[in-house]
Point group: C2
């Protein structure tokens, strides 16, 4: 994962033509699960406009030196087995795949795999990259937590007393995590009564929001009762995805006390189809924000753990043009990924291969860098103007796309995250 | 599931000797996963002091009429496939297993399976009955919620405004659910500072508690975006287990605002090894408590949905005698299981086969019927006297056992739940 790693050498080029605008150059090599039409899903690596079928590459014996029983790892319909294999295997497979795709290498061509094992991305169906075991959503962005505190409790301290001492988080619903492109149905739910003593309203959410987040997928499990120290956390982090933690603010506001968000979040969480490995991100770590007060010993990790990842949210009303409504950077995150993982396991809890830990909404310091509508419209008071449309919260037919990339300026190749796309479907007819 | 079902006929007896004190008569037939010494785990049914190996029974062709590809269902190391098969298969397998074990039936004996497929329970290792997808912990007991409200907010209304309108719940950590018998290590964690502005304490929890709960395991999935109506919920409920939702009250108190319980709960949740099928519980449903105010239409389910299940908690300090510290009944639950499932999916969220929904702590109306130490000792103010020991919260070496059964009086056979047993191990040495 050092900057001397040849897999991130900006001079290295592929024999496969890769458009300059692609976020998937040879230095990225993100993993995903895809199904060609009528075929079983398997593991692949995105390269330019194509996906390399690792099941086929493994079946040809080309990964035998890189992993133990590679055909079993990659013919599977999920990344979980590969995630369990650990960082030595991740590194070896990455180096081998990078070599196979580097200009001058003919190993794939010699076996006809430059045709049989390469699919155009737009001709295959992306699947969820792994079965997510547990999904934890943190609340690690100072700007977001401050904004929410100001909107919700305008007369108090915007941050609760615990916020600067630990990365606040909660468990979300793993079973409703969906891959980018999956439509999202507006949820029904109970909402706060208009008057004290009146019955709650039950019906479609009127305050449907997105949340711009970044999440990591975990690798090998720890043993129950044995915390992962912060300075060993990177061994358990495979890679990153973008996350849209769809939120129904009205359902959430009525239900969340005293046990936290539940149905206001659990109807859907969308993630990008391609998992960018930590190894591809090595050139882009920068010092994290100073933490004040200093954190407990169990939360201290050496190294630079803020990621200079540019993020944006685009909103497209049905029949209208796309508008970018927020731009920010993941480098603003107050609590780092190793701190999140160390905290999560500090009580002895296990992580399993394929757990998802999301950052919480990422917002920057300026009004146009806020990662949710409740912040962008300041609790609905300041609607966004999108051409001839206005938005406080999402309307049926709206499409939200999250995008992210590192680098791309100067000689650093652009390391793209796959988009997270979702369109809002009207609520189900009430059946009761 | 009707009371005319021959599998619950109290007159039916087995050819296998079953002690009168057994909670596993022919009318129960709970499912679990077990491993004989040195062998792979597989699905079995508890009967008296034995477990019937369903993988062996299926391999002999004796379940061919009851299920599709039964060998695949039961040779697996989890119940998940069987859970996915649905209520018609559950009923057919139950009727067939009941018939095979009924006095006069020689199908097992003819194949030598009365020896080869029957193991003594004390000679095999119990495993977690299924891979739990998502774990939801509800808060459905009025007495418990009222007690907690009084202890935490002595001057306010003990129930929050939403409590009587919806079954409050949150997601717990599925990956740390363990089977009865697994020791539980005292968690480390941050605890509230002694003074405002002081740093939090980090160390072993000093307020470790149990929670007496009952949970159900789900069967077939619904489609994303399509709620399960309350009156169809029973089709998605396979059976019940006892649940000890271990809780570190000091960690929870510091972390839980605003997003709910997290590390105060996620270090371990213990469940019983045997899943009592809904079909075995048919004789024991009674009318649920009246709900005031009336609930929303989507939460209405016909029928009697409170279960007359007797529960107790026993606490055994190291080297001391066992003391039963609480006795109560599950019939006190305010929110019923169909209401929990209807609410959970009302926003379109899916359940998958093997999700666990727990009730929240079950407490009765009297002081000796409270299902947690925080209630039994009223926030630690009134220690329990156990012989020559006193307890506010759990100490290292304490063993907690939850037990439960239906019936057993008069001519109704006693339908036992397996116990949930856990012993407290000392905290890990702090490594930081």
């Amino acid at each position: 994962m050092s900057r001397g790693d040849p897999t991130v050498d900006p001079q290295r080029v592929s024999w496969l033509p890769i458009p300059d605008s692609s976020g998937f150059p040879l230095q990225n090599l993100p993993y995903g699960v895809f199904a060609p039409p009528g075929e079983m899903p398997r593991v692949g690596v995105a390269i330019g406009e194509h996906v390399l079928d690792l099941a086929a590459v493994a079946a040809a014996g080309l990964l035998d030196d890189a992993a133990d029983r590679p055909a079993e790892l990659f013919a599977a319909p999920s990344l979980n087995r590969f995630l369990a294999a650990g960082s030595a295997t991740w590194g070896a497979v990455r180096r081998r795949v990078s070599a196979l795709l580097t200009a001058g290498n003919v190993d794939l061509a010699d076996r006809g795999l430059d045709r049989r094992a390469l699919f155009r991305q737009d001709a295959v169906e992306p699947r969820l990259p792994c079965e997510v075991g547990d999904y934890v959503d943190f609340y690690s962005c100072l700007e977001h937590a401050t904004n929410l505190g100001r909107i919700m409790r305008p007369h108090g301290d915007p941050l609760l007393p615990n916020w600067r001492h630990l990365p606040v988080g909660y468990h979300g619903r793993a079973g409703t995590i969906v891959v980018s492109g999956t439509p999202v149905r507006r949820p029904l739910g109970q909402q706060r009564p208009a008057d004290v003593g009146a019955p709650p309203r039950f019906g479609p959410s009127r305050m449907l929001d997105f949340e711009l987040e970044v999440g990591f997928l975990t690798g090998p499990a720890n043993a129950l009762g044995e915390p992962i120290p912060a300075d060993r956390a990177a061994e358990h982090i495979f890679g990153l995805v973008l996350v849209n933690d769809w939120s129904a603010r009205d359902i959430q506001a009525w239900e969340y006390q005293p046990l936290g968000p539940f149905l206001g979040k659990s109807f859907a969480t969308s993630i990008s189809a391609w998992v960018v490995p930590l190894d591809a991100l090595a050139p882009f770590w920068v010092p994290a924000p100073t933490q004040d007060p200093p954190v407990e010993a169990y939360l201290r990790a050496d190294g630079d753990w803020a990621l200079d990842l540019q993020l944006e949210v685009a909103l497209t009303p049905a029949g209208a043009d796309e508008h970018v409504v927020a731009r920010t950077s993941f480098r603003h995150l107050y609590w780092t990924l190793p701190q999140q993982l160390a905290h999560l396991t500090s009580n002895g809890a296990t992580v399993r291969p394929g757990d998802l830990c999301a950052s919480g909404t990422v917002s920057g310091p300026t009004p146009d860098s806020r990662g949710s509508l409740i912040e962008l419209t300041w609790g609905g008071e300041q609607p966004l103007v999108l051409g001839d449309r206005r938005r406080t919260y999402l309307e049926d037919g709206d499409t939200v796309v999250l995008r992210g990339h590192c680098g791309g300026g100067g000689d650093a190749p652009r390391i793209g995250f796959g988009p997270v796309r979702g369109r809002i479907l009207p609520a189900e007819q009430e059946t009761t």
